[in-house]
Symmetry: C2
Subunit: 754 residues, 2 copies
């Protein structure tokens, strides 16, 4: 490994990067002031917004309390888990940075969501009288806060670790990445279950049974639905993109050190710092102009401006900084070309995924139109065409992502994995803008909900909010695609780091790898099958958790209709907080099983079957995870828009049989696209990070003096036992799927409106 202590000049550069990260946080603070300065609308709007704020904050507080306990346990485990290099101070540093990563991840989610629940009402207020431009600006800038905090905190953590720990920083940063990814995964799963339990539950009772429209204040689940948008789409997604950002940087630093020493570590930080500048420019460029044809125009302008600024600056950085790259590695191209082209590949991939996702989920394109038309033959053909669309689109996305990895591999030569990691960094130079785009979605969705529920909105304003909501749906779908791509690049790079760790550990034990990593060993094939299986299992668990929780919501809302007959004629107020409470409790309870599975399955495979099957496990998980994530996201997105298409008047419009068929498709798609699908991103990174963290321990127990098969088998069995116990406990709860049969054993489902 090349010398990797930082030179004085490099230290100065990293200090500059640290300052840039603080500047990003400063810009976020500026945006916060701008958003909060806007008008808060009518008293009714403020009332509703406050209920959403309180529900969302209460959920997050409770979630953090639960996860805090878990984080402390992991912290203690990390203190005793051996590190591949460095002494006790590295180990302690890694454990502390784990807490820092978890804290940052939680903070990004919390701050982003807190502001989103304040931005939404201001967007609604600004829309009154048809103020398209101001409400667009508030919504986008609310997202911008989230975006700038994401990149600011991610970059701050990485730069700080490098300044404090110098050449052992990559190991310390494993903890940082793991903390971020673990928290993000739990927030994704928990928030995803919350939001979809409320949404599906509200739709099933409201639209399907009671025949009242979406966001109708008579539905006891509406506030929970709006809370869900914030804790799922907003807090969950922000934490997820934060961890993508952090983990990609971590992987690049680890591999940079392996291949090029200190220069290899500093370069990714420079790219990220450039990303901060590019994001600021992009956010400022996204103001809607008078000549913009559609709502997507300013969004796209922001993205492409940001990408262009990044590319120019990265080119400069590559050609100024990289010639100093030590050349111990066999490169097929010059280091400058390697650096620039890798980042370029990442930027292009982001743009390509954006186009592809748009094609498969926009109302104006053929795939969604085909699904819409299939509604003429009923719900079954809607489901079937959505599933086949999702399966096929996953393939195109996988081929694009695979093509990017392969391109980086070709350009990278002997440092192929580093090139992959740099491509990941390239993908995330536009992270600030991407997070802004994404948060735009739930904020405008909520704004519409608040306006609708309050009734304090004129026709012009309602039209503005509908337009913003449609734009938000598209941006949400697009960022999902990009999030998956970052996850795959980060996981592939992390996976390379796993290999590097194993080799270091084996070297210390005086052993070599041999053919342990050979694809054709039958035990490795088993590892790959198990890795793919965990992705399927995780998805199945997430979907069934939503069904279960939604069943309880349905039951509660039905009960309220029954016990408070005045709800239907507005003479009684439904108890919104009861539903929020159910969603909170259930989502926290339900996230345990998928969470434990993600953390413990690699432990079971690694200690039980060995380092080869664990490597194959990760490959299986990456392959299946990529496809499953895109499949679930795109099927769900396409169903959602097929429904919108019919609601806009196609095939009979609202109330037609075609509409009923697409509503069913949308309901099936809800947990696909907002619970299971997006949670797969952090899942594959958490599993790779767990593998990275336990690699030295597995090698230690497998070879050399400390070899202890009994200990290995016991650890593996312990992990399996916890997973099985958790699954069994969650199955016990499955009795309430489909609502409480006691209320509807006669097969009739309609709630009789008084």
């Amino acid at each position: 490994m090349p010398d990797s202590s930082l030179s004085g000049g490099d230290l100065a550069l990293v200090a500059v990067v640290l300052v840039v990260s603080l500047a990003a946080l400063g810009f976020a603070a500026y945006l916060v002031r701008a958003v909060l300065a806007a008008d808060q609308g009518t008293a009714k709007m403020r009332d509703i917004a406050r209920a959403v704020q309180e529900g969302a904050a209460a959920y997050l507080r409770r979630q953090f309390r639960t996860l805090g306990v878990f984080a402390v346990i992991v912290f203690l485990l990390l203190l005793v888990l051996p590190v591949a290099e460095g002494g006790w101070e590295t180990r302690v540093g890694r454990a502390i940075f784990f807490l820092v990563g978890a804290l940052f991840s939680a903070s990004v989610g919390f701050i982003g969501m807190t502001l989103a629940t304040r931005g939404n009402v201001r967007v609604a207020a600004a829309a009154r009288g048809g103020g398209y431009q101001p409400s667009f600006r508030i919504a986008y800038r609310t997202g911008g806060v989230c975006g700038m905090i994401t990149v600011g905190l991610g970059l701050f953590g990485a730069a700080l670790a490098l300044l404090l720990f110098d050449d052992t920083a990559p190991i310390v940063l494993e903890g940082f990445g793991f903390g971020g990814a673990l928290l993000a995964m739990f927030m994704r799963v928990g928030g995803g279950i919350f939001t979809k339990a409320a949404d599906v539950g509200a739709d099933l009772v409201g639209k399907v049974e009671a025949g009242i429209p979406e966001d109708d204040p008579r539905n006891a689940a509406t506030i929970a639905d709006n809370v869900g948008d914030n804790v799922g789409d907003c807090a969950g997604m922000a934490a997820d993109l934060f961890e993508s950002y952090a983990v990609t940087l971590v992987a690049a630093l680890i591999l940079g050190q392996v291949f090029f020493g200190s220069v290899g570590m500093v370069f990714p930080l420079l790219i990220a710092a450039i990303g901060v500048i590019a994001s600021v420019v992009g956010i400022l460029a996204s103001n809607p102009g008078k000549n913009d044809g559609s709502g997507m125009a300013p969004i796209n302008r922001g993205f492409f401006t940001s990408a262009a600024v990044s590319l120019v600056l990265v080119a400069a950085a590559s050609f100024i900084y990289l010639p100093s790259l030590s050349d111990g590695v066999d490169l097929s191209v010059s280091p400058q070309v390697l650096g620039f082209v890798s980042v370029f590949i990442g930027v292009v991939l982001a743009a390509a995924i954006q186009q592809l996702t748009g094609y498969f989920t926009e109302t104006s394109r053929k795939p969604v139109k085909d699904i819409g038309r299939s509604s003429l033959t009923g719900p079954a053909t809607v489901i079937l065409s959505g599933i086949s669309l999702g399966l096929e689109s996953a393939v195109y996305a996988a081929v694009l992502i695979g093509g990017a990895v392969y391109g980086a591999f070709l350009i990278g030569g002997g440092a192929a994995l580093y090139a992959v990691a740099l491509a990941g960094c390239g993908l995330l130079t536009t992270a600030g803008v991407i997070v802004s785009m994404d948060t735009f979605g739930p904020v405008s969705d909520n704004a519409q909900g608040i306006a609708e529920m309050s009734g304090d909105i004129d026709e012009e304003g309602a039209r503005v909010l509908t337009d913003l909501d449609a734009v938000g749906n598209t941006t949400k779908a697009i960022t999902k695609g990009i999030a998956i791509a970052t996850a795959v690049l980060a996981a592939t790079a992390l996976f390379g780091s796993y290999n590097a760790q194993i080799n270091v550990a084996l070297e210390e034990a005086g052993e070599t790898l041999g053919d342990a990593f050979s694809l054709v060993n039958p035990n490795n094939v088993v590892g790959a099958v198990v890795g793919a299986a965990v992705v399927f299992f995780f998805s199945g668990l997430a979907i069934s958790a939503v069904s279960r929780a939604a069943g309880r919501v349905v039951f509660e809302v039905r009960e309220q209709f029954r016990t408070k007959p005045g709800i239907m004629d507005y003479s009684e107020r439904p108890d919104y907080s009861a539903v929020v409470d159910i969603c909170t409790k259930d989502s926290l309870r339900e996230l345990a099983t998928p969470g434990l599975l993600a953390v413990l399955a690699p432990v079971a495979v690694g200690f039980g079957l060995g380092i080869g099957p664990l490597a194959a496990y990760l490959v299986g998980a990456i392959a299946a995870g990529t496809l499953m994530a895109v499949f679930l996201a795109n099927s769900g997105g396409a169903w959602d828009n097929a429904k919108k298409m019919v609601e806009d008047g196609a095939y009979g419009g609202k109330g037609s049989e075609a509409h009923a068929a697409t509503v069913i498709g949308d309901t099936v798609g809800d947990p696909f696209k907002d619970t299971a699908g997006p949670a797969i991103n952090p899942l594959i990174k958490v599993m790779n990070l767990v593998a990275l963290l336990i690699a030295p321990a597995i090698v230690g127990l497998s070879v050399g003096e400390d070899a202890n098969t009994t200990a290995r088998v016991l650890i593996a069995l312990g992990a399996v036992a916890i997973i099985v116990a958790s699954v069994v406990v969650s199955k016990r709860r499955s009795v309430v799927v489909g609502g409480a049969p006691s209320t509807a054993t006669d097969g009739t489902l309609k709630v009789t409106a008084p």
Copy 2:
């Protein structure tokens, strides 16, 4: 590699095996006579049966004509494709045995189906007056013919190749396996599209729109539906199990030769010959007795008797024959133990999968009950709970199969792959019985259809046929699970053969493998992602093909209701043959794209990216394929039985909203369980065999004197171009998804009954 020319004693043994294979065919002939001797029922029954016979035979004839052209092209390609060992006579032998394999596969399908279309009416006739035992016996023996032909022809081909080609037999048999697998895949896909297009189309127009029951003679799609049961579930499944059988034997022979020379090749044949005896005993043991509690009792008795006989005889064969095993390989156990335990693992796996599948798909168990209950909250929750059940059950099956492979790996030591192949042989010692069980399904399903349509059945007889149909549903689900397990074991073993081929080819070129097969190379990660992607793509294509073809069936049946108003009051006869014709044409047209994808994707990856990514591609395909196949099969099976549960009176019974919800679930499940899911079995074997066949050519173009990157890239691009062109053409056809909009643009779907 050990010496692998056959000794005189071994030759004699193989000759005995050849005789056993002919005896199996003889027993099949005996069963044919027994079935045909039974009464053919009333004139009306015979009429209907004849229509089904003609439709089915016409379809297969047309399919074979189309596939014949394709087979000749592949034959010519095989003549020029280099072989790893042996001269031109090996190459010609391989090409000829390709044709033989294809012919055998087609014959098994054709003969099995022909007899099934004759057995069905006899089962219906025997049921009249409540003849449970005779009708059960006819249905099971009809299946027995299929089973005995499967094992007879498979064993005959393998033994013949060994007698004719001695130590180059494994290479010749690659052709045999490929021919069988390729034909089976096409028959699976084509038959699967046919049967589900007819079934879904019939249900959508009949049950959902016109409100007439299943198998109602007024529905123009009913005959096509019955034809579909035969060409899909019967011909397709028989060909599939034939190729599983043949391919497993081929893999065992290849690996046996690599590790143990001639003894390693002869032992798998002995196991297969024992399987013939066990199957005969099992089929004879399946007569329903007076004390049998349920219809599954004789079926299970047949299976377990067969398994027990196999185990005893295999133990004897291992301990008598295997001590002569040359011991150049580092084994951790004695060869006798290796042989017996490996086969034992396979037999146990078959039994375990049977139990597991039963648990997830039987009406009396919790999972299906949960889905049934979810029908109270409508179709969306039925779909969601079925999907999460499928995803979860796939994991348990994958862990079981993975456990079997890992067990074989542990026992196998230095010959781990051979142990995996032997476990595959063990799984198939009961093949005769398994095929009988499976064919039992469509035969009894058809018998009920014929009885219903003819009206010539008394109440007692109807009850018998309903019971038989329920038993058939369960056996069909179980055999699907076993078929997937055999596919995975065979594919894993084949994958090992790929490695062996590559090593031989590299050795000849004076090269070594290096770390080309290392899991952690980023290009190999890309290969794995692409491999998993092909499984997703293939599934998506198969499902959308069914949607498209079903749309056309719906259109045709609607047209007939419109233009022949007398159909509803029985005064006019619908034109059944028009629907059969649509299904025939469409399924043949639609099978091209998935078929080309399966054959050409490995070509593109292998020549384009190299031998490492191709190996990873196969691993990705095996991992994703295992899970996807079980997911699709079990979701579909569970929805089917949840519907039956409601039809039997739960949650409001027939006509309730719960029933409508489960009918939608069943319709979604139809192409899952009968088109896409089962076609994945031959898919993963076809891809492994293609990799095996092109391995020497890839190595030849990559290293040594003949290295030619341009040629490699051109071949890869050519393969990609054909796939893309085929996909584009099939997308052109997608305009008719959801039926013809011109007839129903107003959103109303009901066909007005005159």
